[in-house]
């Protein structure tokens, strides 16, 4: 979310410039952008920290509402015990496996449904029903079918990922401009070639957008699943700490979720931008 005014100013600048210093200006702009972003995050973190501190002082109950200092101290303890790292890794592992499988299945199914009228007709009603069932509603069922181990959580994350990616991929196939397909056809492409050389690259941005949304869903689902049925992971940390009234541990878990989620999202955007840059231009 860059602010539109910035973007507009940048476009205006690009359009109206044309001096020889263009490349240097571009480097400067990038440096300036990074500096400003870091500054913004620093200011935001400081503002939140301050508000949090003030609030906790007012609340005056370290048990019910610990301040940043107490939370930080607890975070250090949890890290020294090794619990925080292991909980993060356990949750991440579940997310990554489920997200990978779910994205793959979702993308394949979505591309198939987007390309074939028959397949779309057959499965649309079922997909449209199941996608409206909250993944969290399946938690009890997943436990019955797959036990209390990893499989139950991973299956839930697959469910949370599949439909988002499927829908997005299907729309992506539909969004490939008809003239791109006609151009390929009149240059002599077979159906197979059209799919792999035109449709698939054309739909890729949509697949990726769906995956990015699904990643957020995966975080939500893993937390829910771990709160109800797990012995480890960030969701477990957050929920289980309630029994001992360790609100500071709960805050540590939530902060960790926010940070890990943000990093995962940024990494996903970075990787998809660098590896697949050319596909994002239509």
């Amino acid at each position: 979310m860059t602010s539109s005014s910035d973007a507009l100013a940048a476009t205006a600048r690009a359009a109206e410039s044309g001096g020889p210093a263009r490349t240097r200006a571009a480097v400067m702009k990038r440096v300036r952008g990074t500096v400003s972003l870091v500054l913004r995050y620093a200011v935001a973190a400081a503002a939140i920290g301050l508000a949090w501190e003030l609030f906790s002082v007012r609340f005056d109950s370290p048990v019910l509402f610990p301040g940043p200092a107490k939370t930080a101290a607890r975070a250090v303890e949890l890290i020294e015990e090794g619990r925080l790292q292991s909980d993060i890794l356990i949750s991440l592992r579940r997310i990554l496996i489920g997200f990978a499988i779910g994205s793959l299945v979702g993308a394949l199914a979505g591309l198939a449904m987007g390309s074939s009228r028959l397949i779309a007709d057959l499965f649309r009603p079922l997909v449209n029903f199941f996608r409206f069932i909250a993944p969290t509603a399946w938690i009890a069922t997943a436990m019955v079918w797959f036990g209390l181990g990893e499989a139950s959580k991973i299956s839930l994350i697959i469910y949370a990922t599949v439909f988002v990616v499927l829908l997005s991929s299907m729309i992506g196939v539909g969004a490939v401009a008809p003239n791109k397909i006609r151009a390929a056809r009149c240059l002599g492409a077979t159906d197979r070639q059209i799919f792999f050389l035109v449709t698939l690259p054309g739909a890729l941005t949509y697949v990726l957008t769906g995956m990015r949304m699904a990643l957020m869903n995966a975080f939500m689902t893993v937390v829910a699943a771990e709160m109800i049925a797990a012995e480890a992971g960030l969701g477990f940390l957050i929920y289980n700490s309630r029994q001992w009234m360790e609100t500071d541990s709960i805050f540590v878990g939530m902060l960790a979720l926010g940070i890990v989620g943000l990093i995962a999202d940024r990494l996903f955007v970075l990787v998809s931008r660098t590896l697949l840059r050319r596909f994002s231009f239509h």
């Binding site: 539109s4 969290t136 399946w138 009890a140 939500m220 829910a224 109800i228 939530m254 989620g261």
Partner: protein, 252 residues
């Protein structure tokens, strides 16, 4: 046969095949505790509804979602409009918004339980937060993404800041507010289920988790089925509203 009818029959055939396979599979190979057959679920739906308890569960779940959702939508739209309209708040607000996006509303359940107890107010707060956040970031994005020429046109036609806000920014943000509400409703249902699983004695989420104790798997499936129906109905009504009532705000 027309193309739409053909699509319909194909879809219906697939649904029927799915149900038949499920029915046969469940009756031949599985016990109801693992996977009840569709007919058993339907029977349970009827008999449980007849006792009148289902109505109560639906009422409780519905009330929780609707109260929280209404508060959250109002709050989210207001915040999004205000925050999007001021440049300083854009600069300051985006980083924390990005951060809080990744703390799932469900994670707030634990602190909310500690602060508000297991009564109804905690659930309202949780659903309201879920909705507020989604509506707010969508509204905010809508306001920030407004076309500069539309604002400029208003200014050169003599609009005051307040007039520009009321007559240009709000109409532009409207489809984004609706979109945020649509996603917010879906997320609220997710949050609701978990909240009712962990901290309630009635409601659809409670039915699902309680089936493990009461050993009535059929009832859990009834609840799952109803959640799907509710989610579908909510989504369709948003779509219908956007298409019939708010359609002109979608247009460029």
């Amino acid at each position: 046969m027309s193309a739409t009818r053909k699509s319909f029959y194909r879809g219906a055939a697939c649904v029927v095949a799915f149900l038949v396979l499920w029915e046969a599979g469940a009756r031949l190979f599985l016990v109801p505790a693992v996977l009840p057959a569709p007919s058993q679920i339907a029977a349970e739906l009827v008999s449980y509804a007849a006792t009148g308890k289902l109505g109560y569960d639906l009422l409780m779940s519905g009330q929780r979602v609707l109260v929280g959702f209404a508060i959250g939508s109002l709050l989210g739209a207001t915040l999004g409009l205000l925050l999007g309209s001021f440049k300083a708040s854009q600069w300051l607000l985006e980083p924390p918004l990005q951060f809080f996006r990744f703390i799932p509303p469900i994670a707030w359940l634990t602190p909310v339980l500690i602060w508000f107890g297991i009564g109804e107010s905690g659930k309202y707060v949780l659903i309201a937060y879920t909705t507020t956040f989604m509506v707010m970031i969508n509204t905010y994005a809508g306001v920030v993404g407004i076309r500069q020429n539309q604002l400029r046109a208003a200014r050169c036609l003599g609009a005051t800041r307040w007039q520009a806000f009321r007559l240009v920014i709000i109409p532009t943000a409207l489809p984004h507010i609706l979109n945020g509400m649509q996603i917010g409703m879906a997320n609220s249902l997710q949050t609701l289920v978990v909240a009712e699983m962990l901290a309630a004695n009635e409601g659809l989420g409670f039915l699902i988790i309680n089936s493990r104790i009461s050993l009535s798997t059929e009832l859990a499936y009834v609840a799952i089925f109803l959640l799907g129906v509710i989610g579908f109905l909510a989504d369709s009504s948003f779509r219908a509203f956007a298409a019939r009532v708010a359609w002109k705000y979608k247009l460029a």
